[in-house]
Every structure is written in C-alpha cells, then in structure tokens.
Amino acid sequence: MRKSSLFLSFISISLALFLLMFIHASLRKKAEMRSLIQKYETVKQLRLTDLCLFTEASYTRHLSQADLHTAFKDHPASLEHFPSGSLLAPPPMIKRMNENID
C-alpha cells in the first residue's frame, strides 16, 4: 500500500472518529439530561449553593460562600496551602467593590 494512501486513510479514520465523538457526546448528553434535571431538583430542594468538587478544606468545598479570611482560617497566618487553591480563582464577588473609598 502506498504511504499516501495509508496517511489519507488515517486522516479519514480520525475524521470519522471525530464525528463519532460528537455523536457519542450528543447521545450521552441526551441520556444524562434526566440525571442533570434530578441534580438540579436536589439543589433546589436542599437549597445548595455549590458543587462538591474539592473536599480537602471546608473553604474550598463551598467556593461561592468564601470570604476574604477563609484561606487563613485554619491557623494563624496560615497561607493557602491546599492543592485545590492552585486551581481556583477567587470568587468574583470577593473582588466586588461596594463603594469607592477615595
């Protein structure tokens, strides 16, 4: 078999796999929609505010409820030391200005 035919076959198979990827994603999304709605209902019913992504520290568990002191609350002058802290940006409302002070 010619090298060009091999290469073009590989690209064609890859493109077919891309297509399958989108089909798989769309089918999974449809199949999971009920579960997503159930989760939405649970959040509504329990009045939850956050996803359970990082459980290592109480202040990374509820990101939207964090205040300016949370990173330092475990120990005096304790700097942020949990690995999830290196993945997260602070919640936008922490940086919200209520009033200009000058």
Binding site: S4, F18, A25, Y40, L46, C52
Partner: protein, 377 residues
C-alpha cells in the same frame, strides 16, 4: 482531476518518505506534539464539561443568600432578620438555612451537614452521600457516632444513601434533622446559618439586595448569578496550574516555531537544491513541505484530540485526579457529561495545526527560491 489527485498523492508519498528518512527526530516531534495537543484538549474538555454542568445544576441554587458578617467573618444570623427582609416589596419568601461542616476524626474528612425541609430524615436518623458511605464504610441501617459541641457522643442511624449519580453535588452531604443539628452544634433556636430568598421578579434582585444592605448593614448578599459566575471562572485560564499547562504548551510551540523558522537544516536545504536541479518547481517544493507539516501536525492533532476525549469521558480524567483530589480523603467520583461543540475543536486546531504549518512553509519557501547550485555547494 485524476492527474491532480495523483500528483498530490505522489507529493505526499515523497513528503512521507522524506519524513521517514529522519525517523528519530520526527517520531520525537510527533510524540511531543501529540502530548501538547492531548494536554490542551484534556483541559479544554474537562473545564468546559464542568462549567456547563455547573451552569445547569446550579440554576436551582437560591436566588439570593443573606449572610451575617461580624468583623468581616460569616456568623450566625438571627431569625428575626426574616421579618425585616420579608417587608421589602418584591420578596416572596425568606427562609433560614441550617448547614455546616463536621470533621470526622476517624477518617479525617469534612462532611457537609444540611438540614433539609424535605425529605426530613427524622430525629436520630441521617441520609448520607455516596462518598461518605464509601469512605466511612457505613451503609444503610448502620450508625455513625458524632461528638457534640459539649463533648457528648450521639449515635445517628443511616436511613438512606444518596444515589452515586448525584455525587457531584452530594458526595460529602449528610442530611440531618433540625433537632439533631442544633444538638450537635449547640446552635440556638432563634438563629440560622444564613437566609435564602425568593423574589417575585428576578430583575429586581439587585434592588432588593441593595435594600437589604441598607436595612441590615451587617449582612452580605450572594446572588445566584454570582454563584454561577464563580463556577464559570472556577478553572479560569489565569488560575494556578492551568496557566502552567498553557504556558508549557505555548513555550513548546515557540520552540517548534523557532526551530522551523530558523530555516531548514543543511540536509533539508541540500534536498531542496537537488529537487530544484532535477526540475521541481518552487510551488512543488512548497507543496511538499506543506504536506510534511500537515502530516506531522494533523496526525498529532487527531491523535491528541481522540486520546483527550477518551481520557476525560471514558476514564473519568484519571490523569487529572491526583491534582483535583489534592489532600482530600473524601473525593467525589463523578462522570462528566461530554458537552462538545465545534468551537472547542476549531480553537484547538487554530492553536496547534495552523502555526506549525505556517512555520514549516515560510522558511522552505525562502530556501526554495535560492539558486540550487548555491544550496548544494
């Protein structure tokens, strides 16, 4: 048409043979390139899936949460604040919420305790998330010991375990009755942890929030939009490790581009010279170099994307798990829903394939326009 296709195929044959003559170098290039695309695509797929899922699930979060702050810290809120907020026009209902954390020294994990309105677990009972059950090896009908605020031990019986499908919101959740919650933490009857509001018209949210901060200056208001924005920026490109991955990928591309843009090697230049001497046109040489670049970049791009998809949606991002897990004892197991769109793939394509191909063609074009005699010398 047939001759044109045949010509292209001949050039591809030649380009691939040329790449195979420098097997070691090109195999290394292919491997690194695939790895970069894989890392970038995995990050893009993972963050997009989390953000999309959060945006759907957290639409159910309270429209507004009111917390009391004392000296800049979150504090318990008196129940009588409910009446004062209730009087604001546009507020439909205000309810107190009881929730908190309990550190279990046996497994070294933090649980999130919530007091639900429904289903009420009943006094002496609890409903727990799958993550707690897995970590604590506690199942329906078992009892878990809790140490109250005044050092007493209470036993609470597991009435139900929440479905593993909902782990992304409930892995560490422990539902407890109000009486048990107050007994455990010593929270007085006339206090709640925070308040949640329902309003008649969502467009009035900011006005109501402003009125609350005027009437109750010792409170802070968190809007649902702010919660959604928190998760929209949770894996922001500027955040810690992500910028390291992105910077690594970017620097690798700079090295590739630099290597290519600094001109073809002596062997490659000689090859170009010989091809020109035997009658190849400059356009043929550029075409050959284009296919060389495409062979490397398209192969890496396709493989990287497919591996990344398998990694995130079939193996539950097992390579990211150690990073995400951090020091957690109780780590939620969740399957992400693939939220894919063409823009993710096209962004990755323009970030990876296009710069490499351009960086391959331009120096070759320069070399191909030089007199073959001088190149071969």
């Amino acid at each position: 048409m047939k001759t044109s296709t045949e010509r292209q195929k001949n050039i591809i044959d030649f380009a691939l043979s040329s790449l195979l003559r420098r097997k070691g170098k090109n195999a290394g290039l292919l491997f690194i390139y695939t790895l970069i695309v894989f890392a970038l695509a995995s990050v893009v797929f993972f963050t997009h899936a989390i953000k999309e899922e959060a945006s759907i699930i957290l639409k159910g979060a309270p429209e507004m949460t009111v917390q009391k702050t004392v000296a800049g810290r979150h504090d318990l809120i008196p129940i009588n604040y409910i009446d004062r907020i209730q009087k604001i026009r546009g507020v439909i209902s205000v309810k107190g919420r009881l929730w908190g954390y309990y550190y279990d020294p046996i497994v070294g994990a933090n649980y999130t305790l919530v007091v639900p309105e429904t289903p009420d677990p009943g006094i002496g009972n609890i409903i727990i998330g799958e993550g707690i059950s897995r970590t604590r090896l506690a199942f329906e009908g078992d009892s878990i010991e809790f140490r109250t605020y005044d050092g007493k031990i209470i036993d609470l019986k597991i009435k139900k375990i929440l479905s593993p499908e909902s782990e992304i919101i409930s892995s560490d959740l422990l539902m407890i009755s109000e009486a048990d919650f107050r007994r455990l933490f010593g929270t007085r009857e006339n206090y709640a942890v925070d308040l949640t509001l329902k309003v008649r018209n969502p467009r009035e949210l900011s006005t109501i929030a402003r009125k609350i901060s005027e009437i109750l200056p010792d409170t802070r208001v968190i809007l649902r939009d702010e919660i959604l924005r928190t998760y929209d920026s949770v894996f922001n490109w500027r955040g810690g490790i992500l910028i390291i991955i992105l910077a690594g990928a970017l620097l690798s591309f700079v090295i590739f581009a630099w290597d290519k843009a600094s001109g073809p090697s002596l062997d490659e230049r000689r090859e170009i010279g010989i091809l020109k001497a035997i009658g190849w046109e400059t356009s043929d040489i550029i075409l050959m170099k284009f296919w060389e670049g495409m062979a490397i970049s398209l192969t890496s791009f396709c493989s990287g994307i497919i591996f990344a998809y398998i990694h995130i949606f079939f193996t539950d991002a097992f390579l990211f798990e150690p990073v995400l897990k951090g020091w957690s004892v109780l780590y939620p197991h969740f399957k992400l829903v693939p939220f894919m769109d063409a823009s993710q793939i096209s962004t990755l394509f323009f970030l990876s394939v296009v710069p490499y191909t351009v960086a391959t063609i331009i120096p070759s074009w320069r070399a191909a326009t030089v007199d073959p005699d001088s190149v071969m010398r």
